[in-house]
Symmetry: C2
Subunit: 182 residues, 2 copies
């Protein structure tokens, strides 16, 4: 089993934290292995940021995502940079308020999720859009489990924990709806 | 400018968090670029964990550490796995209560730092050994700056912030002494 997730966007969106939460959930709370490759731009200037997480039940020789199963795109750059790498049968989750996706790559499903709007209007914390995306991911990716993800959020989130957990729950609900509408 | 740091040890020592703090300090608070490659073992079982951080003032093509400038070894496995890769002129910082180093690689300086003991006896929080090591790193690596590192600790540390900051300060003092005794 090898499962690859890429999350990409802009500095300040919590992209790397989202990847760290997935890695922590998988390794600490599910007993799997995980690798994470992150690039920190000069975030203060709104630079490009990405994180690649690979999850496996065995040792991971190559830590980078080669053909992601899922891409979460939180900026146009993120979509343009990574959409083509998503594997056939894979999924691209994007925030339509931030991304104008081109045509979907062959055999890849596009799922729009208004994560930023939900974070702002339903949670009151725009910065929790990453947690909405984590909820959607958890609902959609079989390898991710709700309980371990909640534990990892508690382990890693530094501020506004209750709001971030609420955003995660809203994401789970959105993801469950998207999943059932396949 | 390209500066490579590897921190390695055992699950639960906060190895990956330490790398994230360095990446955050460099990118968010110093306007540099950074990449981080982490491997999460099944941490609950005390698995092997490492994180590689590359810092540059330019875009980083290859995110992995090839010839680390500095290795922080917090387990025997960490030393055995990474010591040989440290570049000539580089430094290996290790906790002598956790690591029995073999002979130093050619041209590499070995610096023992009782981080775990300091964390336990002077801070009262064994888990802050990683922050002691961050303080030593900051004192020793020209690319890392005190203020940005403190900010990044405030950004990223989830629990016992004051104790972790205290551990960082103790590490800074230890590092300054080691540095002046070169």
């Amino acid at each position: 089993m090898r499962y690859e997730i890429v999350i990409a966007g802009t500095g300040g969106q919590g992209v790397i934290l989202a990847g760290t939460i997935i890695g922590t959930a998988a390794a600490v709370h599910q007993g799997l292995r995980a690798t994470q490759v992150s690039s920190y731009g000069p975030e203060a200037r709104g630079g490009h940021v990405y994180t690649e997480v690979v999850i496996s039940d065995q040792e991971i020789d190559y830590p980078r995502a080669m053909r992601p199963d899922v891409l979460v795109a939180m900026s146009n750059w993120a979509y343009e940079e990574f959409a083509r790498s998503v594997k056939e049968g894979g999924i691209i989750i994007y925030d339509p308020d931030l991304v104008s996706p081109g045509e979907a790559p062959e055999g890849v499903r596009l799922l729009p999720v208004r994560a930023t709007q939900v974070a702002e209007e339903e949670v009151g914390l725009r910065l929790s859009a990453n947690m909405v995306m984590l909820g959607v991911l958890t609902a959609i990716c079989d390898v991710l489990e709700e309980g371990p993800m909640r534990e990892a959020i508690r382990d890693r989130v530094r501020r506004s924990l209750e709001q971030n957990l609420r955003a995660f729950e809203l994401g789970l609900e959105l993801g469950a709806k998207l999943r059932s509408s396949r």
